[in-house]
Every structure is written in C-alpha cells, then in structure tokens.
Amino acid sequence: MKYLFSWLKEYYKTDESPEEVAAKITRLGTEVESVNGGQIDDKIIVAKILEVKPHPNADRLQIARITTGKEETEVVCGAPNIEVGQLVPYAQVGTKLADFEVKEAEIRGVKSPGMLLSERELGLGDNHEGIKILENAEVGEKVSSLLNSDPVLEAEVTPNRGDVLSHFGLSRDLAAWEKLIEKPALNLKESNEKTSDFVSVEIKTDKCQLYLARVIKGVKIGPSPDDLKAKLEAVGAKSINNVVDATNFVMLDLGHPLHAFDAGKIQDKKIIISEIEQETEVETLDGVARALLPEVMVICDAKRPVAIAGIMGLKNSEVDDETTDIILEAAVFEAKSIRKSAKELSLQTEASYRFERGVDAAGTEYAINKAAQMIQEVAGGVILEGVVQAGEVEKPHKVKVEYERINDLAGVEYQKEEVDKILTNLGFKIKDGLAEVPSWRHDIFAWEDLVEEVVRMSGLERVKPVAIAKSTKPEPTDYFKKEKIKDYLADSGLDEVVNYSFLSDEDTIAAKIDPKDLIEVANPVQEENRYLRNSLVPGLLKDIAKNPSFDDIEIFEIGNVFLKEKEQTNLAIVTSGKSARKVGEILKAFCEKFGISEADFKVYDIDREELKRFKIKKPNVSVAEVSLGEILPKLKFENLDLRVDENEIRYREVSKFPPVKRDLSFIIDEKITLNEVKKEILSATKFAFLVEAFDEFKDKRFGEGKKNVAFHIWLQDLGKTMSDQTADAEISKIISSLKEKFSADLRS
C-alpha cells in the first residue's frame, strides 16, 4: 500500500525524515519498499545534452557531453533514451541519493564525474527505463525547485496485518513504541430527522456480523476539492466525485471500506443483507455484467441486489450527478466469504482486499461518522440523526500472557512490566494475566503470537544470538550418491544440463508421448507448462537441437520425472555428433566403475524421423535412461565426500550471434596449470567467452620442463556475428599475451 508521509504525520507526530520513518516501519515488520518524492538534493542540477557518443569499451553504454551553463563535462550513461538537446537531471559528485553518494567513477575505463538520473534514482517513482527528461527547466537550475513533492512510502503489508492497511493503522503501529494513539474526536452535525425513519436494515445471513447505515440528504455531487483529489491521487486512488472520494478517503485513512448508495434508487428504502439463491446477472459499477452464483453475499433493496457485499456496488444504485440523497454503508463481512466470492468473480477490489484481511468491527461507527462528516464538508447536505444498526460488534477475545514461555521461546529475559507496557501500547488490555486482543488485530490467537509483538516492539537487537548445540556430521543420504554420479560423468567429459519439468503439446508430438500418460497442469499460465515430464529424454533432445555451435555433444541430466503412479529421480545421457562417443561406450565404463549391470538402463538410438521431429541436424544421436531409485542401492562408492570446485569462474554474457571456434596449442613451462592459461586467455580478449583444454602432454622434444597444451577457444561478438578477421586479430592478442606472461610458444 502507498502511504502519504504528511498523512501519516497527522497521527504519528514526528520530526523524523521520511527515510527514518520508513526504516522504523520496516523494523516493525511492514517492509517499506520505496520512499518516493520529498527533498531532492541541491547538488542535482539541470544539464543540457550537447553530444551523445558510444562508449569505447561497452556496447550498452554511451557518453554524454553536457553543459550546466557554467561548465562542460562528460558522463557515462547506460540509459537508451538520451538525445542531444534534452534537459536532464545531473547529479554532481557529492550528491546524496536515497542510498548512496555519487562519487567520481571510472566506468569501463572512462571517467564519469557524476551521473544522469532516472525517475527512480531521483526518488520520484518506479520508472528506471531511462533518464528523466525535464521540461520547462533552465540549465544550471536546482532540480529540487522543479520537482519537490510530498513523499510517498510504499510498503508490503503481510496478509496477517489488515490493521495497518490505512494511514491511521500504520501510524498506530508506529506510535506504539511510545504510546497508544486514539482517533481524534469528530464534530458531527446531525439534523432532527431520524435515520431510522428513512431507512431500515436487516441481516439475513450469518456472514455479516454488523451493518451500519447513515443518511445524508441534499448533497450536491461534483468534483472533489483539489486538496482531497491530490491526496487520493498521491496514493494511487482515482478521484471520481466528491461523495465517492470521501468514502475512499475514509478507507485509506481508517482502513474501513465504505459504500455510498443513491438513496433515490433504493426501493422502499430497505437494506437487506443476504445470499444469492439462484444465479443472477448483475452489472457492477465498473460496467461489467457478472453472474453471481449461489451463496455470494449481496446487499439488496426491497426487490433486487444493489451491491456485492464487501466487493463492489452495482450500477443500479450508483451515485451519479443527479443524486441528492445518500445511504452510507459501513459493515463487517466475513473474511472467508468475501475472499471466496472475489476469487469466484475474479474481482479483487480495495474493499475486498481489506475485508479478506479483517476490518476493525469496533471502529465501524467512527468510520461511518467520519465519512458522513466529510461528505457534508465536500458535498453539503444534512446528516440525519443516528445510525441504523443491524448485528453487533463481537466481544473481544482474550489470550493468556505466558510471561515465562514468551521469554523461553524468545531466548530473552523480558520483565513482566515491559511485556505489559508493550502490549498496552499496542492496544491490548491486560488484566489478571490475560490480554484482551484489540478489535483491529486478527492475528493474535495464542501466547506464541505475543512473542512476535514483544520482540519486534522491544527491538530485535535485544535478542542476543545463542549458538545451537553442536552435532556431528550426519550420515550422507542419497543426495551425496547422486552428486558422486555427477562427478564421475563430468570427469569423463560430459556436461550436466538441467531442464524444465514441463512438456508442451509440441513436445509430446515430437516425442510421440500419449498425453494420457502424463500428469496435466490444471491452470498453466504459459502453454509450455501444460504437462509434467515422464522422461528426461525429450528435454535432452531439445538441448541437442538448441546447440548448433557444438559439433559433438555429450550431456546428462539427473532430475525428477512424474509418472501417473509415482514420482522418481532419473538419470539420462544423450550423445550426438560424428566424434562423440556412443552412449553405450559411456555406460560400459560407468557400469564397470560402479559395479552394476548395463541391463538396468534403457539404451537406444534416435531414428531419423524422430531427429526430424526434434529439428536435430546432427547425426548419431543415442540415449540412455534409468530410474536412479532402482540402481542407487546397488552402486558401489569409494567415499561420499562432497567435492566443491574452488576454481574461479569468469562468466561472460552469451551473444545472440554465433561464435567461431579456434584451436591453439602451445609449448609451455610444465609448472603452469591449465587454469592459469585459461584465465590469461580470457583476460587477453573480451571476445573469448569459452576456453576448454583438450590436450596436455610432455615430450622430450619440447625441451626440459616443458609441456604441450591445447585449447579450444570460442570467440563471439555481443553485437554481431563474429567475423574471421576480428577472430584472427583476437587470436593474435592471445598468442602475444601468453608469450609475454608465460613465455609460451605457439605450435604451428
């Protein structure tokens, strides 16, 4: 939810900055994801772009030459939207942004004194697609004089905390560090006419605990005053008209959803809360026709439904320009029922969101009174006397405060007085060791729930870490055996792939699998997630088709497959290519190593038809697959120690364009490891992304202490297909750099 900082401060009195308050809210368990708007650092000034040129060392970066009126400078910029002539926010060195200070940086070899900012970096919104382009600005002017605004805090409210889904609610939680805050008194001016003489309310379902109605007569519908509009829009609510805006304001203010009916459209001035008995077609306020199924809770007048309870009103009772009399609703609907109906209708609203999480029943009357007062302020009219009520506010429940157990679970010695004070500040009423749970909290059922409250309010730093008892290294389970198999296969030259667990319709056709044999997903968002795989082979065959850059491929996967009757872990190996080994050859060595029989495996060649269906252009594709559950108990392992590779990996982004492969062999000092050479090759050129050794041997003819090493080197260009010319140039760089570093001689 979005919270306006100034609105929070109406209840939570503070001199702290928005960032400080945001940090406090996060520490209380409602994570503030962003703070937007507010004070912009005066070091950010308006600059004009004079020239845009490419960065010499990075395809995605540009260099912008800018002027601030006083001086010209060049900054590196990653955004695609900059053009000559634009006015942009320029953060000079020393600018303090939300979470870092701008320093003189060197970006890929180019100095950048300061940076150009996106909307997000300016703290004004979520947009980070490009640099914020300024309008009606003067070069050199402070950006703060153009764009300062009231800060908005956006926070992720967890589903258990419906009570903080409002400005008052969040403020109450914040203030609880010091004291319990109360809602300010209202100043309601009622007429002599009685509400009960105008409207009646009757509840005919057990899903509605409480229903309050008020009537305001003689309102004038029109646009809201600017300040109300601005307030709503700042937190993402659309302004509709003064009456509807007032109800929305109260929801965002207090957390209680309200609804306004045009009284003139409510037949016999009767309000009946009931459930749909037979499927009924209605048109909701958003103009959509919807079918209401039995058991959906609705508000009816004498003849028909006029609102879907807790979700959305219907068009037939909408407040419009002609409306003069209003019936205002504030109610408490059952969370589960609202959630079920909202799901059924695929209609999530601000109201249903709050009812699903629970509203403050005891605060209902205050909410309806505040809304009535506000409607009168913005739309005029007279408020009839009294509230018409059906149902009752449920009595609060109590939980035992288990002081000792709270301390035992937290691992902290809290004093009883401290626990009582924390709970009292949160609105609990403590008496005789029992805590009466405040009406707005729907997440407190037992003493364990109080632990959370005590720990967060007293501060997590009070919890001093205590290490758990040491225990011995546990016995290795099947996981370790599977890792040993992976080690063996990788050591013998195979690459491990990991594929999706899904099959698409297309996959089942290519693999000739009858979908009837597959477990089907009921609600896939994407086509390709329709079935669960019952074999690893289709995925591996797709991998073969996907890798035209490699002539010979030997790959394996260990993963779960899903048969109708059970889930099991399989191992599958696929090889392809003229010089690749046949799967049988790999298996033979595998079985010898682990002491099992090849008969456990399903081994076969893929025929031409199937290759075609999988769009594989390589010859000699052979496959083996086995259920590991059946062979694991039979395998013999020397040990089950886990091997963790310490080699440094230098990952390079893979180009969309095809690479070229070159082979080089060198005579080199035998003490130099293959990894050292590899690292040096990768350092020599950014075009090399993959370097693999394929030969290493000693021979007298190379001289004393020398060896021959040979590498496959793949070169690519991120922006285009790698040309032979560039490749030649880069290969020369590699050769000279190995010569320089290791005195390595190229073998011709």
Binding site: R27, G29, F100, T158, P159, K336, R339, K340, D408, L409, G411, E448, V451, E452, V455, R456, L460, V463, P465, V466, A467, I468, K470, K473, P476, T477, Y479, E483, K486, A490, G493, D495, E496, V497, V498, N499, S501, I519, E520, V521, A522, N523, V525, Q526, N529, L532, K546, N547, I553, N560, F562, R643, V644, D645, I649, Y651, L690, E692, F694, E696
Partner: protein, 226 residues
C-alpha cells in the same frame, strides 16, 4: 581429453550443503508433486486465506500441486522422525507465472528445520548469522526484520546489502505450534526454527548472470563456462 562441466546450480548447492553438513544438518529430499495438505494446510496455510495468494500455484488436474516451497518436506519428515530434528531440504520449486529475465516458473530452494527442547529466537539468529557469514565469507552486511509466514510464529526475513540496496535473502521463524502438532510433535515440549532460502538469485549475483532463464536454457555456451 575433454572437459565436462557441472551445472552452476549443482556447484552452488554443494557449497551450501557443505556448510550445513558441517553444522550437523542432514540432507532430506521431499517430492516435487505433493498434496495440498503437505504444501499448504499442514503448514497452517488454509484455503480461503490471503496467505495462499503469496505464491501462484500450479494445480494439477488430479488435485495435487507442484510444491511452491520445499517446506512441504517439514511435516513429511516430522511425521516419521522424533526430535531432535536437524535437516535441510534442497530442491526444485514452482511458481505459476510468465517468465522473463527476472522471473522463472522453476526455482531452487533450500529449507532448514531444527526442532529440539527449548529452541529459541536467539538460537535462530545465531544460526542465521553463522550461515550468512559462511556463505559470504563474512563479507556481507545483513539485517533481520520481522515478517509474516503462516507456518512460523514469530517470523523474520533476512536481507543482504547488494550494492546500495537491501535484497531479501531468506525467510525464517519459529515453527508454528500448529505445524508442530501436524508433525505429531508436542509444542509444549519442543520448539524449533525453520528457514528457507531461494538460491538462484544468489547464483546470478555471484557470477553476474543477466538472465535467470539461462540456468534452464540448456545452452552449452553458457553451461560450459562453469
């Protein structure tokens, strides 16, 4: 001679498993397809509760689900084992959504579970501190903040600082008494903590990988770099 390569996820998980093995956690594996009970209800996530919205679930036509977390192994393991329980559950989890460079239907999680007499929040924080310092070699700034998960009470998130931003690393908390009961363990006698970390993001950060989909791409130009 030809070099073979292990998948980056395999390599990374091994590092994690090694850290946990040294702390005495046993590796337990639970099924990827599971019942609504083990994935949700047993973990105190009832139907018709907004907590279910936290994840988009793949429902299967036979009424089961693709697990949304490896927490499905908690109650399964608890049913057949007596405390002390000290396990990690690594494995593949699923989220029913459209994929892009930062969203994936298929991701890896590692769940930890420790149940014994008198386990405290202080124990949880100490264990988190150990784990984080081992994973990042002591070179990371982290914070713990309260958070809500239905299957723990109280619950906490851990964020680490990546560049200038806080990024969520893991969720954790004290095992909810209802969950203990569902394991057949008496919550008056035992308590425990659980934590779950999604480690794909950690792999991407470690190697500066730009697109999460590369992990399951089968692209050997990518895989053979590891």
């Amino acid at each position: 001679m030809k070099e073979g390569h292990l998948h980056p996820s395999t390599q990374f998980l091994r590092e994690l498993v090694q850290i946990f093995s040294e702390l005495g956690f046993e590796v337990y594996e639970s099924p990827e397809v599971d019942s609504e009970w083990y994935n949700f209800d047993a973990l105190n996530i009832p139907s018709n509760h907004p907590a279910r919205d936290v994840q988009d679930t793949f429902w299967l036509k036979d009424g089961r689900v693709l697990r949304t977390h490896t927490s499905n192994g908690q109650v399964r393991y608890g049913e057949t084992h007596k405390p002390p329980i000290k396990i990690i559950i690594p494995g593949r989890c699923y989220r029913n959504e459209a994929t892009d460079a930062t969203h994936e239907t298929t991701f890896n999680q590692l769940e930890g579970l420790y149940i014994d007499k008198k386990v405290t929040v202080a124990n949880l924080f100490a264990t988190l501190d150990q784990i984080i310092n081992k994973i990042y070699d002591g070179k990371v700034e982290y914070r713990i903040r309260p958070h809500h998960y239905s299957f723990v009470e109280p619950g906490y998130d851990v964020d680490i600082k990546v560049g200038s931003k806080w990024r969520e690393l893991l969720g954790s908390g004290m095992v909810h008494p209802t969950v203990l009961k569902n394991m057949g363990i008496n919550p008056d006698e035992y308590s425990g903590f659980a934590f779950g970390l999604g480690f794909d993001r950690m792999i991407l950060n470690k190697h500066d990988i730009e697109d999460i989909r590369l992990l399951l791409s089968g692209d050997l130009r990518f895989l053979r770099q590891f």
